[in-house]
Amino acid sequence: MDQNEKTLQNFENFRPQIESISKKGKITIAVLSLIILFGLYALYVQMVKGHIVTGMRDYVIWGLYIVNFIFFIGISYAGALISGILHLLRVQWRTPIIRMAETITVVSTLIGPCYILLCMGRLDRLHHLLLFGRIQSPIAWDVIAITTYLTGSIIFLYLASIRDLAFLRDHPLSVGKWRNPVYKFLAAGYHDTPKQKELLNQLIDLLSIVIIPLAILVHSVLAWIFGMTLRPGWHSTIFAPYFVVAAVYSGTGVLILVMWVFRKIYHLESYITKIHFTYLGILLMILGALYGYFTFSEYLTSWYGSVKWDMAVLYRLFDPTDYWWWFFFAAFIGVLLPIAIIAIPKFRNINSIAFASLIAVFALWIKRYLIIIPTLEAPLLPLHDLRPEYAHYSATWVEWALTVGGVATFFLLFYLFSKFIPIIPIVKIKSSEEMDYLKLRKLTTQRMLKRIMKQVRKDKKVVVVVLILLFVSAGHVGLTQEQLTPRLRLDFVNKSGIRLLNAKVTVKIEGKNTPVADLKVHYFLIGDKTKKPLGIDTTNGDGLTSFTLPADLGAPRSKEGAYTYMACVDSTKEYSGASAEVNIRDVFMLITFHQKDTIKQIMVEAREIGPKGDTLPVQDQKINFYVPRTFTSLKIGEATVVNGRATLDFPVTLPGDSIGNLPIVAKFEDNEAYGTAETNAVINWGKPLPPMQIIHRGLGDVNAPLWMVYTLIILLSLVWFHYMYAIFTVFRIRRLGKKFEALEKTGSGAIQ
């Protein structure tokens, strides 16, 4: 009876809070909405113009967005850890603050991930995370952890609110009646029957046990995004616990601030007393000391070790012209000042504790900035970029607008939520029951310009050259008919018996040999008195043409056994005529392989064709040996052909293909008598290639290592099983409630 009166009185106290919005409240909503609209406009600008409107560039790839992301996920700890732990410890004074704490968790976990989305270059491909997700990536861990955490936080907040929702259902509001059916639905038929009470308390206990390790994991995973990279200032083993401690520190700070704000605007002085501020303040102080200890340990270790790259980051943090004053604020003021304010009883009052929290929260935001930006500005190789916006990060108005917009969203959501349900749990239960209930819980433009100018200058040069050429050639055509003299080079190539004539036409322009394209090259076979046309080919873009000789030329050889080939280009308007001749004797070659004990040798037999088709051994000619490879041929040696024979030791260390096959080419090169003549053979003396090793699982492969898969499955199923159980039990509570209502209607009031 006494209990119900107290609850009713609470309700009367809170009725104005949820039934009306004061003038100040309306102004607040309007201002917050305006700020959010401004943020949305910034978002629109970023969507349309792309990420170029942010201060992020190739080196500082992440900026304010990531800072805000860590910050919001950090303050979400207020609910998860503080209310979870206070609930499990059955701390008496937690009652008035737990809903605020839990609401902080839900709201900030909703806002935080939005900042990650703002960093993504291709938001339109968000679904790729589902289609192609790789669980080796800390980002995948993060996505999984945060969704799980958010779900858990919402369930936790809901379970802890069921009693109040049931009360609100039983005491319908006269203003804003649309809420009444919502209360009825959400109350899930809760009538505080002994069975329902038991189930609900059990659920809240269960969820607070689940949410604590989950919260720790979420922030660890977040720290690992940075810790897993090989960057100075990030690649640290204590990063995960450091992030966790920093998060709880800032979470507690935000909780104190929110308490202070709502205490003011809703006049909750009788509910939130100095006790709450003092206790949370002491918690804040302890966490601050812990955070200071981690900070000290982290920077002392890297300073003492003095690895080059770590020092590069440290020097910047300690440089008064760089980040020192920010670092001083984040690591010294942000730790020592709150501790001093709270530790000295004389200074300890509600306002000073709130101020200490403000300092702590602000310092922690700065600290996150100092974790992200200086490290990205100090890559392992020098940050060589003349573009100032690449070398130094400075956030643009778009990023600031979205940052402020996020903070405004936080307050707006919080404020609106407080209009939906009392910000302090109103259903007071007997202190014996309270043990279970209430839970508590939970390079620069200049370099670019230079490049462009260079390009322009170059182009100008080209334009000038072309103009001059046009002018000159026009002059030539019109006046003197003077032509450019091309150079024609004729090469004879014998590739395993296929004889080719290769011609290349170039012309000297400004001292450079430039190939001439689309020029007709005529090939001839020159006899004693005859000039037999062989064929015509046109040069390609490289000034090259190639003509394959027929097997039988149908003409006699000279006395030396040679054929004389000629290539010529006719005189055109632009170019004068040119011709070239080569005098070539045909040669036959054969590669054989010989093995004596361990000595492996390549032998090439070469015979030239005499005037009457007879063959003679080649004498005293240099021959080269090659192994053809992907881009070019590797020369493995040379030898002199004596009596038609040359030998070379086989390069036994050369790898062949998968069965050891190795192609060998023997070649007379630019030989006066034979031109270029070559033949090839394949031998399986090469070192066989080991079969390709295909690794199926690993950090860098498509599939994750098995231990990782199992860990993830076990962790996730454990957590989600509890969520499922919680939802299932809520339905059970609902069924019990329906039974209760039916019984009540029939009049047999007393139940169980």
Binding site: Q136, N540, P628, T632
Partner: protein, 316 residues
């Protein structure tokens, strides 16, 4: 059996193509033509390729340029290959022709640089040296590990590529790469130039996509047709040697040498080996240098020289 046969078949084909292209380069003569070739529009031109057994093949040049693998094939890599690069620091004078060639070949706007140039100095008593840096194509790539969608991947031929059709632009790979090899398409990379081709291939990164990550790709499309990447062929000093480790041969276009001999005799090292990333790019130490490091300042602005001197702690 058939798979093996296929391997052999395709391998033979590559050798043929390789020889042909090699012969083409030799006959074509010198680097000048190679440089000019990179900039040309390839339209319906035929190139004749000579196979070792004397068969003359005619391949359309433009067809060759547009035959990089797409889809699943692009993720697997060229069979039985393991591409490596050796950079001879003794020859580099910061001419940056490799970057020009790279940007031309990959159709990149001037602001996107896949090859970066550093003036490194290991300690105060040592001399500074120029250090051109492509992507290292690590064998234990930190970037590939962290990609949440598998948009960047390591292939069997040692090349690390990015599928810009899959990339969500989270930039985690850029944070993970200790060598700052990756760049982001902050704006549309095609705004200044017409994209080459219409079908996207991870082997060419063409057409470029806004909001995704890009980097040096070791030009697998060129490897497929047996041609050297543009950075290799456009370097006037032959700084870059490129080749297949399985063949134990690398070439800079003019010199063709045994990979193992080169890196052993010249004491090659891999940059920041201690990070455990196992780069696929080897550096030959800058001993017996062809150029004084100051030669590298020739084409630079005052401001850039100042920045380089500052980075290398040069006080003069």
């Amino acid at each position: 059996m058939t798979a093996n046969e296929n391997d052999r078949q395709s391998r033979r084909k590559f050798i043929k193509l390789g020889i042909g292209a090699g012969a083409g380069v030799i006959v074509g003569g010198g680097l000048l033509t190679a440089i000019t070739r990179a900039g040309e529009a390839e339209s319906g031109e035929k190139i004749k390729l000579l196979s070792p057994d004397g068969q003359l093949m005619e391949v359309d040049k433009s067809h060759c340029r547009s035959c990089p693998a797409t889809g699943l094939e692009a993720r697997q890599g060229i069979p039985n290959k393991k591409m490596v690069m050796v950079v001879d620091l003794a020859r580099c004078r910061n001419a940056r022709k490799c970057l020009d060639g790279c940007q031309k070949m990959h159709n990149l706007p001037p602001r996107i640089e896949w090859i970066k140039f550093f003036l490194l100095r290991d300690s105060e008593d040592t001399s500074p040296y120029w250090f051109p840096k492509p992507c290292f194509q690590c064998n234990n790539p930190p970037c590939v590990k962290v990609c949440p969608v598998g948009a960047t991947f390591k292939r069997s031929d040692g090349i690390v590529l990015i599928d810009n059709d899959r990339c969500i632009g989270c930039k985690f790979c850029m944070a993970a790469c200790p060598y700052s090899s990756r760049v982001f398409n902050w704006t549309d990379p095609n705004e200044l130039r017409e994209p080459k081709g219409t079908t996207y291939s991870p082997e060419t990164s063409q057409p470029g996509k806004v909001g995704t990550v890009g980097k040096c790709d070791f030009c697998p499309d060129m490897v497929r047709i047996g041609k050297l990447p543009s950075c290799v062929s456009s370097c006037p000093n032959g700084v870059f040697f490129y080749g297949d480790k399985n063949e134990d041969v690398v070439t800079n276009g003019t010199d063709t040498v045994r990979f193992s001999e080169l890196i052993q005799q010249r004491s090659a090292y891999r940059f920041m080996e201690e990070l455990g990333t196992e780069p696929g790019v080897y550096y030959l130490p800058p001993v017996n240098r062809l150029f004084d490091y100051k030669v590298g300042f020739e084409d630079l602005s005052e401001e850039e020289i100042k920045l380089y001197k500052q980075e290398a702690h040069i006080t003069e």
